[in-house]
Symmetry: C2
Subunit: 613 residues, 2 copies
């Protein structure tokens, strides 16, 4: 039933393709369809920045409807930052417009000779010259492209200078929302693709309108009456208190501790009432987790951003030892405009700051920049240069892993990444289940896969973040449930209001007419989880790569509620692999598991690879 639009930038062609029949049944949508196409089309010999790599941008069955949290799109590609699997999700109108233009997703392949943008209107698909926006920040790019196409209601996803310059931490922006992690922006850049503008008027078909209305009403009602929807007040920034005060896992000064002594300026109640001029949400979302903030005085006067989210409070705040919220707001804006992932940028700067603390870097190497903890002027100066690979910042622009590799000198103990992706802002020493997620997440040290673990581990009344016995099962269960939300898609912030998979099931059934059940959904979730894993296994990823940075395994937290704790890697991963049906020694899904999930072809391919080794 669904349709994809395949765009070849080398040939300049557009081709409509029907989704293969069993695709939706087996992979549902979103991240599932993306993983399947990646597995089929982006083989292990495809280099991330080569013209053979592809951008697979998908929506899900719910995108384009009035369901809150469904306005999302997911970009899949082989990551130039990590070299492995990448998906990166963003809100905003872009996913919706893909649906309204008549598609479930876009597959972009090849490479244009010179800068271009893709225009996808229902009746006008074109690859157009983008020289007039090349070099522009993302806000200007959107402005000028809308002006050029004469359709201000189009949605434009684009890259900034960082993506053009193939900075491996470059992101993709639509409106003020980022598909942030893993360097999809550099893949855009490598294809000479500056932007994609989409606009359409097609309604998304709904199979059972009455059931849809009921399910939607129920969902909205549940959102309204669920008190624990923390994002409602201060957005994701609201978790700062929990991470710092309750669990003591707010990574500070490059993860040297989990309690930020200067946190006051970062607590949302300190700055959001002061600087927020407006709440903002994705289409149809009553939560409106975004806050538009404006700085009117001091050295950062004039800064405007939507956010910063919790992760950015971490990445330009605690992890850099910086409590100047105005500078964090300014840094967030710079990253959005230049098209840089805030997490990778901040954690790489924090890494540099620790090297500076320890005398491994001095002003001689840093172009004279003083990298003392909390020097926000240095953070701002470096960000502007990272996007252009200027001077010392060229080293930082590589991201934390590669910077560490190039620097050497024993710095790997300070490089806080997994598989080359800088870690999200939750210290697994203080919240154990999160560590499982971050260790094995397909795109690297990402907090997203296990966000719901975090919720169950730290935010419910009887949660115990330090307990380890029950965590492997919890993580497996919630990773697969979270997966369903990335397939639908439904924004993760809705989780506490969704009654497990009850409401997603109702919504998906009403829209698609598929015969679904909670069990069936869980099976799909597990299937996609295994398929993503298999993608990485095919690239050589095994248990040896599911390793958190040494610091987390060996240096106990020095203070706070989790004082004395490290992360118990072996116990936790042993049990987790077992529950997943993955080989304990290698972390590779067993043949049985893959076959039981209907992934026989995948099982056979992995088997053959093993034989070759």
């Amino acid at each position: 039933m669904g349709k994809l639009l395949r765009i070849n930038l080398t040939k300049g062609t557009f081709k409509e393709e029907k989704l293969r029949e069993n695709f939706a049944e087996k992979f549902l949508g979103g991240r599932g369809i993306g993983a399947k196409i990646m597995y089929d089309e982006i083989g292990p010999d495809v280099q991330p920045l080569s013209s053979d790599n592809k951008l697979i941008i998908v929506t899900g069955p719910l995108t384009g409807t009035r369901i809150p949290g469904s306005a999302r799109h997911i970009i899949h590609t082989r990551s130039p930052l990590t070299g492995v699997y990448l998906n990166t999700i963003a809100g905003g109108h872009f996913g919706q417009q893909i649906k309204h233009a008549g598609y479930d997703g876009l597959i972009i392949e090849g490479k244009a000779d010179s800068p271009v943008y893709i225009q996808i209107f229902e009746d006008a698909k074109e690859i157009k010259d983008a020289k007039f926006v090349w070099g522009m920040p993302t806000d200007r790019t959107q402005e000028f492209i809308k002006e050029a196409i004469g359709e201000t209601k189009a949605s434009v996803a684009c890259i900034g200078p960082a993506g053009e310059n193939l900075v491996p931490m470059a992101c993709v922006i639509n409106e003020r929302r980022a598909a942030g992690r893993g360097g999809a922006g550099a893949v855009f850049g490598s294809k000479n693709l500056k932007a994609i503008a989409v606009y359409g008027g097609e309604d998304v078909p709904i199979t059972d309108e009455d059931a849809f209305d009921d399910a939607l009403k129920e969902t909205l009602n549940s959102i309204r009456t669920t008190p624990s929807l923390i994002a409602r007040g201060y957005g994701s920034a609201a978790v700062t208190h929990i991470i710092q005060d309750r669990i003591g896992g707010f990574p500070t000064r490059n993860w040297q501790t989990g309690v930020f002594d200067a946190i006051d300026g970062i607590y949302p109640e300190t700055w959001i009432p002061k600087y927020r001029v407006k709440k903002h949400g994705c289409p149809f979302c009553p939560i409106a987790c975004g806050h538009i903030v404006v700085i009117c005085e001091g050295p950062y006067a004039g800064a405007v951003t939507e956010g910063p989210e919790y992760e950015t409070l971490y990445s330009f705040g605690s992890v850099c030892g910086n409590s100047c919220i105005e500078s964090i707001i300014a840094a967030d804006e710079i990253c959005d405009k230049l098209g840089i992932d805030t997490i990778e940028a901040g954690v790489t700067i924090a890494f540099a700051m620790e090297c500076y603390q320890r005398g491994i870097l001095t002003k001689t190497e840093t172009d004279g920049i003083d990298l003392r903890w909390g020097n926000h002027e240095a953070i701002i100066a470096l960000l502007r240069k990272i996007a252009y690979k200027q001077g010392f910042a060229a080293l930082l622009s590589e991201g934390v892993r590669r910077m560490c590799e190039k620097l050497g000198k024993g710095t790997e103990r300070y490089a806080m990444h997994v598989k080359g992706l800088a870690m999200g802002g939750y210290d697994p020493r203080a919240v154990k289940g999160m560590g499982i997620g971050m260790a094995h997440a397909p795109r690297g040290g990402c907090h997203h896969n296990s966000t719901y673990t975090m919720y169950e581990e730290a935010m419910t009344p009887d949660a115990d973040p330090l307990e380890i016995e029950n965590k492997p099962l919890l993580v497996k269960d919630l990773t697969e449930k979270r997966m369903i939300l990335d397939l639908a898609p439904l924004c993760m912030f809705l989780w506490p209001a969704l009654r497990g998979l009850q409401l997603p099931l109702k919504l998906l059934t009403a829209v698609t007419g598929m015969h679904l059940s909670t069990n069936k959904l869980c099976e799909i979730g597990e299937r996609v989880h295994n398929l993503e894993r298999a993608y990485n296994v095919r690239l050589g990823i095994t248990r040896k790569d599911d390793v958190l940075p040494e610091r987390l395994l060996k240096e106990p937290l020095p203070e706070g509620p989790a004082k004395g704790h490290v992360w118990e890697m072996d116990i936790l991963l042993d049990r987790f692999y077992e529950l997943c049906g993955w080989d304990k020694a290698t972390g590779i899904p067993t043949r049985e598991k893959l076959e039981s999930l209907g992934l026989k072809d995948v099982a056979e391919e992995l088997e053959q690879l093993k034989l070759q080794r």
Copy 2:
């Protein structure tokens, strides 16, 4: 026939008013109608930043049609920078939309209790809360207001932080075009008025469609075939060569010379081909004088602006001894976003630089900023602070005259302004007629009134910029003709293609159906010229205020084609007043002159004032 919309921010009311019958006949439109309403409604006791001051924003009979150069609006108010008459003109869609919403102009009076914006749609006029955009730069303000009103095709004129902070050099921006001079932005700010959003679908009525089509065709054809339309290639930047090389009047290092030794980086052919990504024009304009430029490397990487125009090349370039074009582009962008007049800002910085050169200012006073000539980092740093009145920059934010008054220490010889308005970038010592315009222009040291003099003095084959005999007559004649273009309105860049007033006459007749002639137009031009003068006379302005800075009268140009020349004030003004019918001793229009122009009431009021003195 025309309609004005009167908006009272104190009362929150909208009132439609018909233009009085003889208004159009006597004052035609644009600057004429604006001057008349100012004269009638903004008396000499109204302080610029008081709630009694008004914003009179008018279009002209041609605005909203397909005529190139007619997409303009003119803001009138009593200037908070100079204290005298102010009009300030901008292109873009704002004027057009006022017409399409059904009005010839807006009169805004009173003061809102808290930040508001005005929404003017044909069917929905409202004064709305603007707290959500207060503090935002002008680009973000436009973005967020369009988002809030849900009409992306609306045109939004707004202020930036400078206007909010009542900086007397604050401008008003619509799209990327500025109504720049004299501080209209601060008047917006003083009324708590952040923005005006206008949108409508009404056609502008055309009396004689056939004649209109003919006149339009003729105009377009003339534009196409007039070789001397210098703006066509590089916009106003194209005159740099003429001002520097032909006349030697490119004000350098605060007017210490007229030849900029480091001009190479500023010549348009050096930077426009390198940085221009696109030409840009106002609606229906085939000239497209604007250039969108983007900087992709170096310390100013990421800067994007439309421009800079010639005046900005002067104000952040030669007059500050700065030849780094990238910094001028960045400065232009900052000014547009923060809502600052580039000319006033640059000339004030140049003034500070000369004080620094002479030891009158040292780093002690400048917050440690090194104000040596050409220090572009200092220029950029100061601009960000001027908008917020921070530290030393608070002094600069007052504009050149008041900064000089506050500084004292004999600095008035370095303060390059007339009546409190920083001078435009043409040295009258090298182009004599321009001096007459700048000396007597109603808003102060402005180059606009006499732009056509400049053209005739320096750009035609047998022009003689240093000749003085014929200049007074030339200036009088061309000031009045230029006036007609500000009434129509027609963009001044079209002048060489308009065959004097021939084409304006045809266009105006076709659109309005009025019985016009060249003579009648000249009479209207002279009438408005005198009415504007009378407005200032009523405020106490006389010949004593029509004085160029002492430097231009006493310090001969040290080099270049005009080496040895000063500006011959007495000879030139004596003759000019005589030709205008203004009293030679006072510069006040004679009773006879005013009565002959049908301004008897004005004559009587001035007479009475004289008696009171």
